[in-house]
Symmetry: C2
Subunit: 138 residues, 2 copies
């Protein structure tokens, strides 16, 4: 008797690689990687498009130092801007710039297309169910 839980994790990992390859190569057109897209995604959702770096790390699922390293080039090409938190000088806030918003909007069209092509085997109903399950595990 096989363990379904372990099986699920293995299959999940396989799917991850497929998604990553596909999304990365498609988003490449907009000059961003999938991780960068995710980062922009969370900034776009955030109130005032501002987040603390540590919360961004938590959201995207990478380490604090990973965020620092990812943001450096994104700041250079002005996708995001650094802001100070007057209440707490330890914190360095990240804000989605106008350029960032534009790029994100454009990339989102591509991403939606990629997402649809990956999930086309499932009906909306099935996908909704699956998203519900996934959310319970995150």
């Amino acid at each position: 008797m096989k363990e379904i839980e372990a099986d699920f994790i293995i299959q999940h990992a396989r799917l991850t690689h497929k998604i990553l390859r596909r999304a990365d190569s498609q988003l490449n057109i907009h000059g961003i990687s999938f991780s960068e897209y995710m980062l922009l995604y969370y900034l776009n959702e955030a109130p005032n498009n501002v987040m603390r770096r540590i919360d961004l790390a938590e959201a995207v699922g990478i380490s604090a130092s990973g965020v620092t390293r990812m943001l450096a080039p994104m700041e250079k090409i002005k996708l995001v801007e650094k802001e100070i938190n007057p209440r707490d000088a330890r914190v360095s806030l990240v804000k989605l710039s106008e350029t960032g918003k534009t790029i994100f909007a454009e990339a989102s069209v591509t991403f939606a297309h990629t997402a649809k092509s990956i999930t086309h085997a499932l009906t909306t109903e099935q996908l909704k169910k699956m998203l519900g399950f996934t959310s319970q595990l995150v």
Copy 2:
């Protein structure tokens, strides 16, 4: 109106990071990473515990060169062995060693535990359904 497909991909990626962190830190006890566990997993499933490097790459979801780089240390500690394919000299086969089998068996106990702890929010029935959906996307 939000795109459910895109949402699903984002949630999937979040779950991936959670799984990876958890699995890596747990498997660490056995001296292997999650990718190494996956590699052993596919070798363990393979007939005669032998696979071509390129098929291993495809299974695990990394590049051919990634496999070469991953296997080097695993060969050194004798988890796997190199074998020649007499029919095709381009191919270099990889075989799960006896040590590898033992380590994999031990790590599988840990991994099953990790997998259960990640998926505990879902019933077996739900998980079965989710695995079915995931398989359709891979």
